[in-house]
Structure formats: structure tokens, C-alpha cells
Amino acid sequence: MSNVTHQFAGYTAVEDVSLSVSQGRFVSVVGPSGCGKSTVLSIAAGLLAPTSGSVDVLGNRLEGINRRAAYMFQQDALLPWKTVLANITLGLEFRGMAVEAARGPALEWVRRAGLEGFENHYPHQLSGGMRKRVAMAQTWIVDPDIVLMDEPFGALDVHTRLRMESEILGLWSGSGKTVLFVTHDLEEAVALSDEVVVLSAGPASRVVGSYAVDLPRPRNLIDIRTDPEFNRIYTAIWRHLRTEVLKSYAS
């Protein structure tokens, strides 16, 4: 994969953002609330067309939906009228696979997401954490080259969140997939990523810093938060992010 470059010169949300993510890296974007993190992600997904500037995915100019990418949404995005199994099968079905043929891989993902016994439940019958597992299976089953995640665990309680983070890391390790992860939680960003990108306070936010996180992998998310090296990196980024957060308070 060549580089993904997002250049977006807009009038409000984000201005002149350039960002390149190399293949196989886990990169997080952090910034104060309302700084346009989600906008950056939507542009990378092709759901939003940039007012100016362009996006390149694996050497090709992006036009329309980014077919190499999957997207995990912040909100509940499951189809409420489809069962767990049907929701997970959807991506394969859309790619022209017969429903019967897609059943095998879908059941495999039901197992990997720990949803056995819930195949025929509807989303409203599940807990928030289980719905996220379905969403995870739904996005990863299509085997995307790029996974875009927009605060996917924001609405979960701390413990469920920790488990989901570990599972995402487990899925990603060794998969060679590129992850662009948006969060407002710097701890989460440092714990998961190879690199943390800081966006300035909005409107018209820009990339104001990029920090490498060279903690060894595989990482133990339960213990990593007390690691001195983790704290050194966290503090360095926080010093920077703090000024942006204060600016967003001021405006």
C-alpha cells in the first residue's frame, strides 16, 4: 500500500488536513470534542466528498465509497430488522455471495465474536456490548484492507470496553490490515496504536502533531496503563492535546 493522504481544505470542519498512514499500521486520531475527527474518517471512507483536496487509497484516487475499507460506527448501525446472523452475513451478501454460501463464514464469525446462541436474536434483544460484537463481526467479515473506526466503544462501560479493545487488537495483530481509529480518549489511543495523530480544536482544525508509540507488541491492555514507558508517551501527547482542549473550552 502506498500512502493514504487526506488533504481537505474546507471552510469549517477541517482545514488542510494531510495524513498518511502506511499499510498495516494502527493509527489513532485524537482531538478535543467537535474538532472534526469523524469528518476526517468519513472522508477516508468516501461517505463525504472533500470540498477540496483528495484522498489516495493504495495508490488509487478515491472516488465515491472506499471499497477497500470497512467502517465501524460510533452509533448503533446494525439493521434492526435483521437477526444477528443476517446482519453479519450482509457484507458478503452485498458482494454477491449466495446466502447459503455465506452462512459458513458468518457462523464462524458468530463464534469468534462469542455470540453463539444469539444467531437468531434481533439487535434490540442484545446488550450494548453484544451489539458492538455483532458490528465488529459485520465489518471484519468482508476482510477489508483498511478498517476505519469512529469511537466504536464510546458508549460502553469501562470493562466491556477493555475487552472489546483487546479483541480488536487480537483481530488486527498479524492481519496486515491498516486501522484508522478515532477517539477522544488518549489512553485508549496510546494503548492500541502505533501512532497517535493530534488534531487541533475546531472549527477549521488541522493536524498539529504526530507521535510514535513504540511500545512492544503484543500488548496487555490490562497492565499497559501502569507501564512507565506508556506514561511517558501519554504525558508527552497530553501536554500537547491539553492546550487544544483548553482552546476548545474557550471558544
Binding site: L47, A69, A77, P80, K82, Y122, V142
Partner: protein, 254 residues
């Protein structure tokens, strides 16, 4: 609850019957529930009512079917195409504001005394109810779910089939409840204004000879039919909207 509902109805009929028998209500204008029931029984026993009922139901079914199909189609097309929606908007408002009853004489002239003038009248009523609900239903689809489906690779057709139709179904169903009643009303009005068959024709005939019992008997038969059909729609809805949490489903459709 059903018990209380039954009691209320029984009390109402009892007061009516007593009032008419005691002379408080004029029997000539109000008839009596007992007489009406006897007349309904007579009509069915003699078998004459069946052919009228069949005609009315056929007309209602045709206007319902044509109205629903065209309403859903038009609702989808306009909801997905902002240019067309804006273009047609004032004309749809004007057409919908027109009282349908005034169309009945025109339809009689155009389509004759047979069933098609009534079907046309019914369609003009059903179409708009279904159209507005479908339009709204498609417009109000959760954009996050649409984006999710698009990211998962849905084509426009798959989007319509897997996201837009199921999402609009709740809205469409709530319109079906109303429009099925209106379809029957519209065709009966059409029959009433000029026909040679149908329940509306029976009512008009009875009215012509000041036979209030006959008028009420026709109304009772219609009410029973509407209730029965509504129950059928309820069952269908429950089967198709299985995915909805119970409370939310009944709230939205109420």
C-alpha cells in the same frame, strides 16, 4: 379490557333499544338495534346481500391494491429524487386538498356506473395516504444505517431492498390501517352516488323509501367488514415487523 369494551357497547345498544321502545327516540328516524339485527339476519338469510357485498369488497380491494402499489412506488421515487419531489410538491398538495367527493360525479361520467368509477374514487383516497407515509418513511431512514450498508458494499438496489423498504414498512403499515377503512368508505360513497350494485347502493335504496332500519343494517355490515379486514392487517403487520420491540411497535402504529 375486552370485557369492558363489550360492556360499553352493550350498554349503548341497550339504551338505544330502550329509548326507541319507550318512545324517547323516534323509531322512524333512529330504528332499533333489535330490528337492525333482524334485518341484517334477513339480508344474509335471503342471500341477496352477498352479491352486493362482493361488489363492494371487490371495488375496495381493487382501489386498495392499486392505491397502495402506486402510493408506495411514487413515495419511493420522490423520496429518492429531490428534484422530482420539489417539482411535484405543489401539485400533490393541490390534488390532496381537493375534496374527493366532488370527483365522484366526474368519475361517474368518465368510467360509467360500473365498478371502475368507484375504484377510481377509492384510489384517489388511498394513494395519498400511502404516498405521504412512504415518502416520510423513506426520508426518515437512519442515515447511520444507510451509511453502514453502503460501506458494506450495498448497491442502490440492495439498499432499497435491505434498508429502505424494511425501514419504511412501519410507516407504510400505519398508513394501511387508515387507508383500508378509507378505501371502503370511498367506494361506498361512490356507490351511494350512483350505482346498480353494492352496499352503498343498498343504503341509498333504503334511504329512498325512508327505511332507516335498512340504512343502519347496511352500516352495521360495513362496520363488521372493516373490523375484520383491520384485524387481518394487524396479523400481517405483526408477522412482518417481528424485529420491533413490542412497546415501540404498538406506539408507532397507534
Amino acid at each position: 379490557m375486552i370485557l369492558w369494551q363489550g360492556l360499553l357497547g352493550a350498554a349503548f345498544l341497550l339504551f338505544w333499544q330502550a329509548g326507541a321502545s319507550l318512545g324517547i327516540l323516534d323509531k322512524f328516524f333512529f330504528s332499533r338495534p333489535g330490528d337492525i339485527a333482524a334485518r341484517v339476519w334477513q339480508l344474509f338469510a335471503a342471500g341477496t346481500v352477498w352479491s352486493h357485498l362482493a361488489v363492494t369488497l371487490l371495488e375496495a380491494a381493487l382501489s386498495f391494491g392499486i392505491g397502495v402499489a402506486s402510493g408506495i412506488l411514487a413515495g419511493f421515487v420522490l423520496a429518492r429524487n429531490h428534484f422530482l419531489a420539489a417539482l411535484f410538491d405543489p401539485y400533490i398538495r393541490v390534488a390532496n386538498a381537493l375534496p374527493r367527493v366532488v370527483l365522484a360525479p366526474i368519475f361517474l361520467l368518465w368510467f360509467g356506473l360500473g365498478i371502475w368509477s368507484k375504484v377510481a374514487l377509492g384510489v384517489t383516497v388511498v394513494f395519498f395516504i400511502v404516498f405521504f407515509n412512504t415518502f416520510q418513511g423513506v426520508r426518515e431512514v437512519d442515515p447511520v444505517i444507510v451509511n453502514n450498508a453502503r460501506m458494506l458494499g450495498a448497491t442502490e438496489r440492495q439498499l432499497i431492498r435491505h434498508v429502505l423498504i424494511p425501514s419504511a414498512l412501519t410507516w407504510i403499515f400505519s398508513s394501511l390501517h387508515i387507508s383500508i377503512g378509507f378505501a371502503i368508505i370511498a367506494v361506498v360513497v361512490g356507490e351511494y352516488l350512483g350505482a346498480s350494485r353494492g352496499i352503498g347502493y343498498l343504503i341509498a335504496q333504503a334511504e329512498g323509501v325512508f327505511d332507516t332500519t335498512g340504512v343502519f343494517a347496511g352500516m352495521a355490515i360495513l362496520a363488521a367488514v372493516v373490523l375484520l379486514v383491520g384485524w387481518g392487517v394487524d396479523r400481517l403487520e405483526r408477522a412482518l415487523l417481528r424485529w420491533k420491540p413490542r412497546a415501540a411497535a404498538s406506539r408507532e402504529v397507534a
